[in-house]
Symmetry: C2
Subunit: 469 residues, 2 copies
């Protein structure tokens, strides 16, 4: 399925690549040894065997907070050592998540400081097992969930963070499933306690969590799903199970919901934060549950936008217990990234999800498959809400010819970048507002190259805000 | 069961009664016609048939906000008219709830302004049915749930607010069941989503909701119930199903819970409010649910204690969504009094509870049965947490001899009261602090008459705070 998209994407990548460095460069940077908690980023061992010295692998590395170009492809060497309970996974496909976008801007505190390899989920094959690992063996196809560190060709993780891929599931699906489906599942069935005949509002219904939530809602009898998305995505989300598709761009979604369900809703999943959380709270029925799981409203533009962040903080929802009591309401917060100590709970959820997959009741929808080199485009696509379903990265190396061509372009681009950087440096101290404008200047020319209908960056962000997660 | 307690209570009543007026007095006050929403307080009809004129019934009436003596027994006349969909119930037994205590102090906004008849639950027999009532008939034994107005011998309520009493359930049990069990059920199974192997903290485990919650927890496999109560009640609550009884008077309950369950708890039911809500929040596991359903900490002394109220407000729990997200936590508010528009939901819960009753899995525990005349003692008992289980009121009239004796004592007490009132009036303007001291002065002599171990009022309130709901 997603594999069919790959060639086109690769072609695209040749034209649009801009975030990577030439393959030679990274060698100058020694592989970083992460702290104990960062098991996912393989540490170089002190006593290297010959094979370990010659072992190299590519990794995406966040080199600093900022725009899409801050994630660079590097080559690391030295075979990572395995501790007891760990497995080494040869990564095939990685999933992109909203937290990765937040992390790149320095807005996600679960990712250690750069340089660091992001990535919360991937699929691959077990290549080595450490001591005391009894339930995984070399050759097992697995999906992996980790706090970070999975956007690389080789990842070392605790065996308990891996799940066997069921027969019939592709590596693409397996990389697209863990974060979105576990998130949607725990929100709907643990906090939400979803039951027949209830109503659910799913924002960004064409996004990864949105699609997963819609499918999971449909496993319960007579659940009405209210889904927001731009009009162009309504056909897709309706086919996916959304009962009432709402175009939040042209209509007030609160009014639209009230027209259909005057008493309000039983469950609202809120990835937006800020003033949308207030709206959600007021839209709840008695005994209703508001589950907030992000602050997508905080993301505006490529880099940290202090105005958007401040606005989100200013509007951040805060609730007194007296209001909850008088309304008979529930407010819950969820983020899988903060739940990494609860593998038992996560494994239970995963097992249920895999059962539903085997029954054909849930199936990840892949929007597009990008190469590691195209990670910038992949992130842009997600942030600008141009996807329907999951954006994934494949570790597949580029064909040799393309690599060479790529390297040439890369050199040219590097030169151009250096020029731009000089200009940038001059402007750097002109304050926050100035910084935002810079973003626009650098963005717009690139967009015009590839889009039929270029739009101004602010408009896009405005429109995109509620589209995807 | 509860009937066995009654004679002793009646004996008590003769000695301690102080809140009622002689039966003659109330006739001077005409029956009040409540607003449309107050269907429970029968309105006098404009065209009275002879029978309707001679029809009289006793009712407890809150005559103003304040101490226990503000609830007075009055006689009303005129048979209440029935609207379509309503039934007239001859009340046998009424339940007392914490909201009634709050209401008497003017701290519960679901009760209309005095004069008004309180009472959210009762049991009785249908004596007449209005038009369009198809599922109730004269002679049906029912329990009733209403926003207020059930502490009287005759109550008119929507038929949808009545539930048939199952075979084998006494009127006492039926009056003790609705509020406590529906509250505990919806908190645990709707908001709480209680599942096997989870842990629950039940404050005031010997109170009405506490006992109901404990029994309902035990219907789920391997649920650990942490229950707080004073040591003297530990045997009773342990027999009732509490796994870990904690004496909050001599120990820090947070520390005690952590010793047994270092990671915290899955569900916490919080009737206390204020700083205890903060403690509860911090005691939650990831994916834990805090369900707050009262502000018992606000009640200190007989009358509204502005210091306690202010303290509770000051410490009132307020939560930001970011904290919820990072903690993966849920905060819910519940109060049955604000849920009266949701009869379908309530009926579903009630049906499940009655099934559990029939299976012998839940059974209301009656602490004591008081006469209408003893309502002051009943309220005091509850507020001072001297009960294990439910305090109920029976409408049974007093035997004639007792009545006469009662009347004599009443006269004496009235005189004494008038004297005290004079003193009081002088002091009235001495400010809030002074008012609190007055309370103590009036309370203490009465207590010494009936208690073996007299205690200072403040100590009692302190101790009693977390005991019962």
């Amino acid at each position: 399925m997603s594999g069919e998209d790959a060639p086109a994407q690769q072609q695209n990548a040749v034209d649009q690549k801009q975030e990577t460095k030439p393959a030679e460069e990274p060698k100058a940077e020694p592989p970083k040894t992460e702290s104990a908690e960062a098991a996912a980023t393989p540490a170089a061992t002190t006593e290297k065997a010959p094979e370990e010295e010659t072992f190299t692998y590519r990794a995406l590395v966040l080199t600093g907070y900022g725009g899409y170009d801050k994630v660079k492809l590097q080559v690391k060497k030295g075979k990572p050592a395995l501790k007891a309970g760990e497995v080494l996974v040869r990564v095939k496909v990685c999933g992109l998540n909203f937290a990765d976008l937040m992390a790149r801007q320095g807005l996600y505190d679960r990712l250690p400081s750069p340089p660091v390899t992001p990535g919360m989920e991937c699929s691959g094959v077990v290549e080595a097992v450490g001591e005391e690992v009894t339930d995984r063996k070399v050759g097992d196809k697995v999906m992996v969930l980790n706090r970070f560190g999975l956007w690389q060709e080789v990842a070392v993780v605790p065996a308990s963070h891996t799940f066997l891929i069921p027969d019939g599931m592709s590596f693409e699906e397996a990389a697209a499933l863990p974060v979105n489906y576990i998130t949607a599942y725990l929100m709907l069935f643990d906090f939400g306690n979803l039951r027949p005949n209830q109503s659910v509002l799913v924002h960004a219904a064409a996004g990864g969590v949105g699609i997963a939530a819609t499918q999971l809602c449909k496993t319960v009898k007579d659940v009405a799903v209210f889904g927001t998305a731009s009009a162009s995505k309504h056909e897709a989300i309706s086919q996916g199970g959304v009962t009432h598709a709402i175009d939040y761009r042209t209509k007030d979604y609160v009014e639209e919901v009230r027209k259909i369900s005057p008493k309000g809703l039983d469950i609202i999943l809120d990835p937006l934060g800020g003033s949308d959380t207030h709206k959600a709270y007021n839209l709840l029925k008695p005994m209703g549950k508001l589950i907030t799981y992000g602050a997508a409203n905080m993301l505006a533009g490529q880099r940290k936008n202090l105005i958007a962040v401040a606005k989100n903080w200013y509007h951040q929802f805060s609730i007194h217990t007296l209001s909850l009591i008088q309304g008979n309401k529930s407010v819950c917060g969820f983020h899988l990234g903060y739940l990494d100590g609860e593998m038992e709970l996560i494994t239970q959820a995963m097992n249920t999800i895999l059962d539903l997959y085997k029954q054909g009741k849930v199936k990840p929808r892949i929007d597009s498959t990008c190469l590691f080199l195209q990670v910038g485009d992949a992130m842009r696509k997600m942030q600008e809400r141009n996807n329907i379903g999951k954006v994934i990265l494949t570790t597949e190396p580029m064909p040799e010819e393309e690599k060479k061509e790529e390297a040439k372009k890369e050199d040219k681009k590097e030169d151009k970048k250096k020029e731009e950087k000089k200009k940038d440096d001059k402007k750097k101290d002109d304050g926050k507002k100035e910084e935002k404008k810079d973003d626009k200047k650098k963005e717009e020319p690139k967009k015009e190259e590839k889009k039929e209908e270029p739009k101004n960056e602010e408009e896009k962000n405005e429109e995109a805000k509620k589209e995807e997660k």
